[in-house]
């Protein structure tokens, strides 16, 4: 059946995407002048130490070979070193971070909830907010509301995320003292605390992202509102709320959900700045650490995971097209 084949094809493609991204990561990484072994060599670093460290971490093979080992590891698991001190990384092994002394998989698993909480919460806010504002300014085209929301949106995109976050902390966290100024509490430990810690990051992230949605919705809305079927909807005696909120909106959503897929995907891969400012131990921070400490295995893990989420999001969006607009059905 058509749909099944479509999905199958996409999944296959996804796997290839991941393979390629992984390969790219390795390749790029070896373009860097940095030597990961150097960092776990200690100071002062004698050539012998360097050599042993390199061998132990498995960096002594050509990178393409290492990549293959990495792939193999996913299915067979891996062991680094030998004897009692050997480090085991059970299948599926996405590498082992020698600097964090933990398997990449467990690291990512431990950070995912944070980023997920952040991303999902924020994305809902920015979607609703953005679209609502967009619709509003479309209906009130040229009015002060339109101009103001536009200015707001522009501020959102052009303001440096870091500053917004800092200001938010200064105001809500330190001055008014109504929300915690940083950190993260797992939902399981305390739902209230979870919400409380996330509320500011959510709003900040949403503010930074909402612009695209507001502007896209607005412009598309203006297009659709002129269509004949809107007239029909009115002639049916539908309340304006339904005419706009249902008939028009549905015709606007295609590009909007597309952007949503892209943004959600990338934020789920790690909202670096927000996580840093609010010191939330999420994937973004993990990634940054990996980059700054040239922790290749961790880098691999983070990159692959991010890629996976993005591809997945895009895929779901593509499936959604058909639902939103039968003419755009891809299957």
């Amino acid at each position: 059946m058509r749909l099944a084949r479509f999905i199958g094809g996409r999944l296959a493609a996804t796997v290839i995407v991941l393979l390629v991204v992984g390969l790219a990561t390795y390749a790029v990484f070896y373009l860097l002048p940095t030597d990961p072994a150097q960092l776990s060599c200690g100071r002062p670093c004698t050539p012998q130490n360097l050599a042993t460290a390199r061998a132990f971490m498995g960096f002594d093979h050509p990178w393409i070979e290492q990549y293959l080992q990495f792939i193999a590891g996913i299915f067979t698991g891996r062991t680094f070193g030998s004897g009692v001190t050997a480090i085991h990384c059970p299948a599926p092994c996405f590498g082992y971070s020698f600097q964090q002394n933990e398997t990449v998989l467990s690291l990512i698993a431990s950070r995912l909830p944070v980023t997920a909480s952040l991303a999902i919460g924020a994305s809902i806010i920015w979607l609703v907010l953005g679209v609502a504002v967009g619709v509003l300014s479309a209906l009130k085209r040229g009015s002060p509301i339109d101009r103001i929301t536009m200015a707001g949106a522009v501020a959102g995109v052009s303001a440096p995320a870091y500053v917004i976050g800092l200001i938010a902390i200064l105001i809500f966290g330190l001055t008014l003292n109504i929300v915690p100024d940083n950190g993260y509490v797992p939902l399981t430990t305390s739902p209230v605390g979870w919400l409380w810690h996330l509320i500011t990051p959510w709003l900040v992230l949403a503010f930074l992202q909402a612009a695209t949605y507001a502007r896209l919705t607005r412009t598309q809305m203006l297009d659709v509102l002129g269509e004949d079927f809107i007239r029909t909807a009115r002639a049916k005696g539908l309340a304006e709320r339904n005419v706009v909120g249902k008939h028009a909106l549905r015709n606007v959503l295609l590009p909007v959900v597309t952007v949503f897929g892209l943004d959600l995907g990338s934020v789920l891969g790690g909202a670096i700045l927000t996580e840093t400012v609010f010191s939330m131990p999420g994937l973004g921070q993990l990634l940054i650490t990996a980059v700054h400490r040239t922790d290749l295995p961790l880098l691999m893990g983070c990159t692959l995971f991010a890629a996976f989420v993005i591809v997945l999001a895009n895929f779901l969006v593509d499936l959604l097209y058909g639902v939103l607009d039968p003419r755009a059905r891809l299957t």
């Binding site: 200690g42 431990s110 940083n182």
Partner: protein, 536 residues
């Protein structure tokens, strides 16, 4: 007292034991496995691990004191064989007694590639160390002898006067024999210090609680006042500062792990309360501009001398902390203040603002009447290096020396400057010695063996005479003798002007109102965790 800084007043209020100390840390993880730790003897790891010797930072210069050992070590043969004896009544956090065998094991363990990230000065010094690969394969390192449970003897490959300093490094802490086989040890070590790791979530928080088996009586360096120490990990620098300035809730008994950056310092100027909780060292690591002595014009001594005058240290001070008072004094020596044996001198006297005219003139004499151009200046983007580099570049421009700045990600920078090509002209960086000896200040940076291969001889300075002097000084056991020798090396090197010393960087730290006795000595220019207290 070393630092007449606001905090010393606080240090006088003798604070009682108890309370929880919060460390606001911008790192995302901590190493508690001694073998993997590179931290200073007096910071994080110092709270959980003890070594044979330790540092006393209360004086103007750091001095060596006994910790687990009864004394700071004896050598029978001018520094090749060193013998230490353990105190009585020492115990690990698991209750087992600390024996010389545990110490041996702990040190041997550092040779295993799985745990080789820590400081490794000892690996080349101990006889047979270069080929030894750790105890887990069953082999032991014969150059460490434990005639009895209390005595430990080290045989070195060559005479080395600073060995007592080496054994003060966190890496050489005891580990119960046979323990610490796997990575888990990093987050749940068996400790000898006053604290043990109660819980550790990477990226979030590490909690230290008291080690019931540690006895104050056996420990002269640690006051161990707080009941609990909590490291809040991966915090954002500016946020840390803002929290400490706000000084509310737990932050009152917290302090910032990392330097307060210029912007925040400026914020403190008219905030007396916060200002009173800022501690600034009197000196610190030397910030310097390395001149690649193997590149074009820079190979020419006269040119290098010209640099000494060209640089405007005043604007550098401002660029690094807004005011000289916070930035640190102008530097002229290689050995930093706070290290015994240092002799102050200045071979190239000039005022802080530099002397472009003289620089030009020197360049002209050196055969570059219309200055230099196209020099590359490497700098790490971390710790606003790029801005500092701009200050330097701007002042050099005054003397017709045109440089192009190449800011690089920290790792890239390190591997470029410590790599073998050395395709750069200038590099801007600073050096924090690993232990308070002139040796650690000079040898890693100027011995010809340290060029490339990950060595930190950034100016690629190679001078046999100097190498010889260094070897001789290292072999000297008597501290004062050694001191004078090192001072001589210092001067000798500066005659060749391989670097331009800029400032002895002062580090500033903020702390909450309840944190007592925050001392930031000249060396190491970090708060001494071991003596911090919380006022109830």
């Amino acid at each position: 007292n070393a630092n007449p800084s606001p905090s010393t007043s606080a240090s006088n209020t003798t604070s009682k034991p108890g309370g929880t100390l919060y460390v606001l840390d911008d790192n995302s993880s901590n190493h508690f496995d001694p073998a993997q730790s590179q931290s200073l003897a007096t910071t994080t790891s110092g709270l959980v691990h003890r070594r044979l010797t330790n540092w006393d930072l209360s004086g103007p210069t750091a001095t060596l004191v006994a910790d687990l050992a009864t004394d700071t070590g004896k050598t029978s043969d001018n520094g090749t064989t060193w013998t230490f004896t353990l105190k009585d009544g020492l115990a690990f956090s698991d209750g087992s007694p600390i024996t010389s065998a545990d110490l041996k094991w702990g040190i041997e363990r550092t040779f295993d590639p799985a745990f080789s990230q820590g400081l490794s000065y000892h690996k080349t010094l101990l006889a047979g160390g270069t080929t030894y690969t750790g105890p887990f394969s069953g082999k032991s390192l014969d150059s460490i002898e434990t005639p009895d449970a209390k005595t430990i003897v080290f045989r070195l490959a060559r005479p080395y006067g600073d060995w007592p300093w080496i054994v003060s490094l966190v890496t050489l802490s005891p580990v119960p024999q046979g323990k610490g086989t796997n990575a888990a040890y990093d987050t749940a070590p068996i400790t000898s210090g006053p604290y043990q790791v109660a819980s550790y979530q990477s990226g979030t928080q590490a909690t230290l609680t008291r080690n019931p088996h540690w006895q104050k009586s056996t420990d002269s360096v640690r006051t161990a006042l707080p009941d609990k120490v909590i490291f809040q990990l991966s915090q954002d620098d500016s946020v840390i500062s803002q929290r400490l300035i706000a000084d509310s809730g737990n932050d009152q008994s917290g302090f910032g792990y990392s330097f307060v950056d210029p912007a925040q310092l400026a914020q403190l100027v008219n905030n007396p309360s916060a200002k009173s909780r800022l501690v600034t060292s009197q000196a610190g690591a030397v910030e310097y501009l390395a001149l690649n002595t193997q590149r074009g014009p820079l190979a020419n001594l006269a040119v290098r001398k010209a640099f000494q005058y060209a640089v405007n240290r005043a604007s550098f001070q401002v660029a690094s902390a807004g005011t000289p008072a916070l930035a640190g004094p102008v530097a002229s020596t290689l050995i930093t203040p706070g290290i015994s044996g240092r002799q102050a001198y200045d071979l190239y006297p000039t005022n802080a603002a530099g002397d472009p005219a003289k620089a030009k003139q020197l360049l002209a004499q050196a055969g570059f009447p219309d200055g230099l151009s196209g020099l590359t200046l490497l700098v790490s983007t971390s710790n606003n290096g790029a801005n500092l580099a701009q200050a330097v570049a701007a002042s050099l421009a005054q003397a017709n020396i045109k440089v192009t700045i190449q800011p690089q990600d920290d790792d890239t920078f390190i591997s470029n400057v410590t790599g073998n090509q050395g395709n750069y002209d200038l590099a801007l960086t600073s050096w924090q010695p690993d232990f308070p000896s002139a040796n650690a200040n000079i040898q890693p940076l100027y011995q010809s063996s340290q060029i490339g291969n990950g060595g930190f001889n950034l100016s690629r300075y190679s001078n046999d005479e100097v190498d010889a002097m260094i070897a001789d000084a290292q072999a000297t056991v008597d501290p004062t003798q050694a001191g004078t020798k090192w001072a001589a090396v210092d001067k000798r090197i500066m005659q060749d002007a391989p670097i331009v010393p800029l400032i002895y960087t002062r580090n500033s730290f903020l702390h909450g109102s309840k944190v007592d006795n925050v001392q930031v000595p000249d060396f190491p220019a970090y708060p001494n965790y071991l003596t911090l207290g919380i006022s109830q």
